[in-house]
């Protein structure tokens, strides 16, 4: 059994010098085959975390050891933005750049930091949402989250950096992540008994487990809302004996942080759900794909997994490996996640075949979101009826919502499926509200006349997040921000997304700044969004134009 020693995985401002011996030892502590081609991305990520960068000599060494061409290693480095080849500065500040952080003063903070720290050993840039929109302005310092940066602590932050104070000596409260649930429901308050659901499952056949999940009406909580029992059933009935369970913890949709709660507070329920799924479909191995932004939860999750191994529930017939992403939103798309788990660039696959038939390493694979596995454990422990009796006809159960933006109490709220947006806005103390973005940029923008819309699987925005905007906010700004986000995160595989996101950004600029061309840019944008929706390879491209569409629907063309 591997020791998986990650004591070094803590906020650091100095990195040890790299040498092959030290690198090999560290990689071997994490995995018995760190140089196998499918493990190469994980080895790059671990080298990055341990030594602060993957420099050219390190890439060459890894290429030699693994037999993976240097060009392919460089291709990974160029795809995953958290992999850096330049020698690291003492402090690398990555400010979370979601629209919520912009509204909380990100731009002026960044300018101020850049100005005041221009001669410090420090690099300042931005990154897409890091899952902390309820703690604005948040940032990653050498990979670890610092929350609530603002004018009140800016001086102190600059002083710490200028005086080269080690990260370990920074105020601990700065790294605090608040996972309080402001409105609890069954999932966040039931008396979970570790292993009880699993014991239940052990006394059942695979089909019985799947029936139980089906009776509860559980649907995937990652955004697509696909019936979980059907997914499991499909995977189970494949003749291929090797099967996998994968947990999508790549919570990248801006404004979404509900999985952060589960990964921190209910990791056991998630792991138990994965073991139950493995029993149901007959899988031998499982993987958790944890987004790189959540690396601070890595050690915690490893410890949880170890406890399950110690109790004998993991490691015999079924074991789970923890994988890290490295700054690529697209890897939240299930087939891109599988590619990434195989150690490749996260390019979504052609479907069909779907993962249930041909998934990880070509084998039948269940892909579910963190919250879905948590719900599976709930259902097995509390019974299908307990889950089914909450929610509405087509959307059973309850779920956690991530609320951020212009409200008194941003954070986590558990509500029955089908609760109205208005309820959530009231609970969170939103006031003077102009609109709310449901389900992140790829979801939908709801205005006051739509606030009674139920939040469930039958309405747009199923990802479990609400970003609130008050009447001082500009819809054009919000739209531009989301459009740039998609441009930045497009994987570059297909024409309509790779080139379309850029063209859309240009057209939006023209729409905003060139009144003479407004009617034309409007028409062009409408057509381009439709093209992207219909012809893109995956969900990213299909939804990348939705913010623009929302804008145009809200701003009717001026009468000529």
């Amino acid at each position: 059994m591997l020791k998986r020693d990650t004591e070094w995985l803590v906020p650091n401002s100095t990195f040890p010098d790299w040498n092959t011996e030290r690198a090999e030892q560290m990689l071997l502590q994490q995995h018995p085959h760190p140089f196998s081609p499918e493990r190469i991305l994980q080895s790059l990520v671990l080298l990055q975390l341990r030594f602060g960068a993957v420099t050219n000599p390190m890439q060459e060494w890894l290429s030699q050891k693994s037999g993976v061409a240097l060009t392919d290693i460089r291709a990974l480095m160029s795809f995953y933005f958290f992999l850096e080849q330049d020698k690291p500065p003492r402090y690398h500040l990555r400010l979370a750049d979601n629209i919520v952080e912009r509204h909380a003063g990100l731009t002026s903070l960044q300018e101020s930091l850049t100005h005041r720290l221009c001669s410090a050993d420090c690099r300042i840039d931005t990154t897409s949402c890091i899952g902390l929109s309820d703690h604005p302005v948040s940032l990653l310092v050498n990979g670890f989250p610092v929350t609530h940066l603002g004018p009140h602590n800016l001086d102190e932050l600059c002083a710490l950096i200028i005086n080269r104070v080690p990260l370990q000596k920074w105020p601990r409260s700065w790294f605090a992540v608040d996972n309080r649930v402001h409105h609890k429901g069954p999932l966040t308050s039931y008396p979970y008994q570790r292993g009880k659901a699993l014991t239940q499952a052990r006394g059942m056949t695979g089909d019985q487990i799947i029936d139980r999940i089906g009776e509860a009406g559980l649907r995937g909580l990652g955004g697509a809302g696909f019936p979980t029992a059907f997914k499991w059933h499909w995977c189970k009935q494949q003749a291929e004996p090797v099967k996998y369970i994968t947990c999508n913890a790549d919570e990248g949709e801006p404004g979404t942080f509900k999985d952060r709660f589960y990964l921190t507070e209910q990791a056991d329920q998630m792991i138990e759900g994965m073991v139950i799924a493995a029993l149901a479909v007959g899988a031998q191995a499982g993987f958790i794909y944890l987004r790189g932004e959540y690396v601070y939860l890595y050690t915690h999750l490893e410890r949880c997994l170890r406890r399950w191994r110690d109790s004998g529930d993991l490691g015999q017939d079924f074991d789970i490996e923890l994988h890290l992403g490295a700054g690529a939103y697209i890897c939240g798309e299930e087939s891109a996640m599988l590619e990434s788990l195989e150690g490749k660039r996260g390019i979504p696959r052609n479907k069909p075949p779907f993962p249930g038939t041909v998934g990880l390493f070509g084998k039948p694979t269940v892909v579910n979101n963190v919250e879905t596995f948590v719900c599976a454990t709930y259902i097995l422990q509390q019974g299908s009826a307990a889950f089914k009796n909450t929610g509405n006809e087509k959307s059973r159960g309850s779920r956690l919502h991530s609320v951020s933006g212009d409200c008194r109490q941003p954070g986590l709220y558990e509500l029955a499926q089908g609760s109205s947006l208005r309820t959530l806005l009231e609970l969170s103390g939103a006031h003077n509200t102009l609109c709310a973005q449901i389900g992140g940029p790829s979801g939908a923008l709801f205005f006051e006349d739509q606030f009674d819309t139920p939040l469930d699987f039958e309405n747009p925005g199923r990802g479990g997040s609400v970003m609130v905007f008050n009447k001082d906010r500009s819809i054009v700004n919000i739209t531009r921000h989301f459009t740039r986000f998609f441009r930045h995160e497009s994987c570059g595989f297909c024409t309509p997304c790779r080139a379309g996101t850029v063209a859309l950004d240009q057209l939006l600029d023209q729409y905003e700044h060139n009144p003479a061309l407004q009617a034309k840019s409007r028409e062009d944008m409408q057509e381009l969004v439709q093209l992207m929706q219909h012809s893109s390879h995956c969900g990213l491209g299909k939804t990348a134009g939705l913010p623009v569409l929302n804008l145009l629907q809200r701003e009717p063309a001026h009468e000529q």
């Binding site: 060459e60 060009t71 052609n350 994987c491 024409t495 080139a499």
Partner: protein, 242 residues
Amino acid sequence: MSNDLQFSLDGVSVCFEKGETIMQAAQRAGIYLPHLCFHPDFSAHGSCRVCIVHLQGKTVAACTQPAESNQVVQSNTPELQKARLRLIQLLFAEGNHYCPTCETSGNCQLQALAYDLGMTHYHYDPFMPERQTDGSHPDLFIDRDRCIQCDLCGRASAEYDGKAIYTLSGRGQNTQLVFRSPSGLLGDTNAGADDRAAHICPVGCILPKTGNYQEPIGTRLYDHHPIHDIGNLRKEERGGSS
């Protein structure tokens, strides 16, 4: 003969074999579906999206969509032709394409499709990316300005030449063609001018260094024949089609 294995394409009944895609079946039936990244000899990629067709309310890529019995597929509709035109215009806008000085002009599939779809202008503002050329190879020249990221060279190199020299790197609009050598230069690979990969490019990104500009304008592949008549031909492939 069983009639089970057939579907309707623009009202014409097309037979297919189990496992075939809509594109493969259409090609065997002699029906041209516009495309760039597809080639019958290599695995499908599905990236250019020019071969999109309507399939019972959905828009799918014909090159990756499995053919199924009784499907109703539409391809040659004004709406789809317009969408294809826009995709071609996006490809023109995102690269740096100067047809009048390009050796491939007249033999270029991107240009041929542009003519075929009635393209008269870019429609989108050109992105004007900065892309590197590579002249390191003794016999081949790489002009990334013209690359459309179709990965045909990558597939030909891996699946036919058995060399796996060409591949794509980067992300989003920074996606680029790269070569598997420590220096990243084509000259440091074992690429050969006779490799299939060196002749598969549908545009003018991979070119021989000698013998160019000898074929007079006016006598080239698509000068007198639209691409929908003669297919996605390469210079070497006159007489056959893909």
